[in-house]
Symmetry: C2
Subunit: 246 residues, 2 copies
DNA sequence: CGTCTAGTTGACAGTCCTCAATGCGGGTGG
DNA sequence: CCACCCGCATTGAGGACTGTCAACTAGACG
């Protein structure tokens, strides 16, 4: 009857947190009731914009970043389908970062009221939202460790593995292969490198038969080797296994 | 009558979010009902520890960090009195980082139940907690930008200014002077630098008559100059000014 | 066919790291 | 009281990693 979630990346992401009742699926569905389509490289909001809405990514790749006065850019994250962007901005004076599409995307604006009502209506929904926020924070922490304390090579390997894991959870990765429309400029700005140096690092990874990134497509040739290089552990990305979690 | 908050850094931090009713102050006070004293450099929890409790710092300086297998260390944050550590760990499988005291500290463990009950009992408390979490996220984002895209000099300047602002909000900074018991090893690990290089950077800042850090005490000599150097804007640290915020 | 974006490569410079040594102050024990 | 130790700060010399500048290729597109 209720197939609200069949095509919803949010429901897919929260699947393991279930079981979900029909009414809860409906509540989750309400997060995606409104839709907006945008082309590639369109601004969604800018740093300092007062924001009354967060955005659920329904399809496509997006990018969260901050610009510096000297022209520098730091990419904070690449939100994927099922990810919600800008929740923290709801509770501050404005967004702390800019948000834009990298590919054509489909977005669902979520008002503060919708978010809070959904969480109040169902404790399962509230849990899922709390987990999502906590996971985003864990990703951010790992990103900081990556940029602060890993070499360019390890950093890049770690980044690719994190992408692979996140994409696997939404069914967009298979056997170490996935589409990745992020160009080397954006990727370099995520990793705190220059595009030129990233290019050399990617060559090194390719020549070591670990991973190839070409024409918007990533092929991981040696998952274990890459994992060893990056000292990657993807536990922080998966839904919690604990029973009776809050 | 009700002086629950008079000596509570949490209430002080949340002051501007008021007005607070007595019963709400009581609810906030419940976050600090239990107390634990610890000496300097004591572990509070470790990465991967299953955690049922977050910690409110009541007094003293603390440190959140991650260790890498090669011996490296990335400091994520220096939680100060009024800050709550480990909320995200409650909603994941375990803590993503280690937490320890830098000085003798006083901590209040907050159970998941206490936190959620407090938030359910009062929408003002819920707001305050949401703001606190959102602010921590904003600080983390700024930290990532700092490490990823700013030179060692700007990075250090920015870090010192952020500390100054945070300390000012809890009344621990006056006229550009504050105590800072963080040694150069810890600070370097926060900034993604080596202690040796940080030392040279600090000398440079001192010789430029911008700021001096000596014997656990920071003196900002030229606030504007430092701010210009770091391109610092501390808005993300202050309570939101919006009316009717959620 | 020209233009544009993205990717690639080379040469060189510079920031930051590594290794090594020294100074300095505060404890602790003889 | 003094010697010793230890954590922390400081400095020097050299090297490695990463950035800068510049040029060139390849493919997409009109």
């Amino acid at each position: 009857m209720n197939d609200v979630g069949c095509h919803s990346p949010l429901v897919r992401k929260f699947q393991a947190l279930g079981p979900w009742t029909d009414s809860e699926l409906l509540a989750l569905g309400s997060f995606g009731s409104r839709r907006r389509r945008l082309g590639a490289h369109q601004a969604i909001f800018h740093e300092r914009d007062a924001s009354d809405e967060a955005y659920l990514v329904q399809s496509g790749w997006t990018c969260v970043y901050k610009l510096l006065p000297d022209g520098g850019r730091q990419v904070i994250s690449f939100p994927l389908p099922g990810d919600i962007v800008g929740i923290s901005g709801l509770f501050l004076d404005g967004a702390q970062f800019s948000f834009e599409s990298l590919t054509p995307v489909e977005l669902s604006p979520i008002s503060t009221a919708t978010l809070l009502n959904g969480a109040m209506a169902s404790s399962n929904v509230a849990r899922a939202v709390r987990w999502s926020v906590a996971r985003d924070s864990a990703i951010l922490v790992e990103h900081l460790v990556n940029v602060g304390r890993r070499s360019a090579l390890m950093r890049t390997a770690h980044f690719i593995l994190e992408l692979a894991h996140r994409l696997r959870l939404i069914g967009a990765e298979r056997a170490g292969e996935f589409a990745c429309p992020v160009n080397q400029y954006w990727m370099a700005d995520a990793l705190g490198l220059t595009a030129i140096h990233l290019n050399r690092v990617l060559r090194e990874l390719r020549e070591a038969h670990l991973v190839t990134l070409r024409a918007g497509h990533v092929s991981i040739h040696d998952y274990e080797g890459l994992k060893d290089l990056a000292v990657f552990d993807g536990d922080y990305l998966s839904p919690p296994k604990r029973v009776g979690w809050p």
